[in-house]
Assembly symmetry: C2
Homo-oligomer: 116 residues x 2
DNA sequence: CTATCATATGAATAAAGATTCATATGTGAG
DNA sequence: CTCACATATGAATCTTTATTCATATGATAG
């Protein structure tokens, strides 16, 4: 064994409660999507209304290409959906979970500030 | 202007709803903490009971050093707390928000699976 | 005190990821 | 058909970040 004091009981107990490795990885991957400023801003922008790519780029003052790349990631993960309208592509939130996840994070931050 | 069709109205409206840049960055940074498999596993392990470093390392079959580094990140972000007990350091969840944030992500994933 | 266990930490390496640039695709106007 | 606009995408670059290794710190038992 690598260590001297025994916690096999504790480990065993926790181990039984722990979700599968695969689910835990998926969970990490999900939060990773929210763990980038640009993507958070994109998602937040879509809270109220759907938007086309160049509107988002203009709003965030970023290059269209950067936005497109991030939108692709969000779309692949099915956090946003996409619809053609004329020659623009309109993106929208695909899921209300996006709202609630961001909302939880928001709550955490704002409550922290109150404590200070 | 960089583009031709006009969405200044939409941009203006969204812009007013958007939280400050600083808050959005903080939000990204918060989710970044959850966006790593090791950290998610650590947090999840602490759901039921507090644990010392080497118990977590053994549980996750990872090196003590790697766990320590991640625990530092989580502690600096105040997602976990730490208490000395003899010569071991015992870590615990610092905040119920951690549970609810992870829970929301969990919900999203499991509902997705139902749809398939 | 000293030896040993538990943990922390700095530096180095490796891997992942975001942005940019150049260019391709796709669509509608004329 | 052709042009211009909107978007997508591949490759390259730059940054960030996770892990490992070596070692430092800190605490208790004897």
């Amino acid at each position: 064994m690598a260590h001297k004091h025994d916690h096999s009981q504790a480990i065993k107990a926790v181990c039984e409660q722990l979700p599968s490795d695969e689910l835990l990885c998926d969970l990490g991957d999900l939060f990773k999507l929210f763990g980038d400023t640009t993507r958070i801003k994109i998602l937040y922008s879509l809270f109220e209304s759907e938007l086309c790519v160049c509107a988002i780029a203009e709003l965030l003052k970023m290059e269209q290409s950067a936005i497109s790349h991030q939108l692709k990631i969000l779309k692949d993960a099915k956090l946003v959906g996409c619809r053609r309208s004329g020659r623009t592509n309109v993106y929208f939130l695909a899921d209300d979970h996006v709202r609630s996840i961001i909302y939880q994070g928001f709550e955490h931050l704002t409550e922290d500030e109150e404590k200070q």
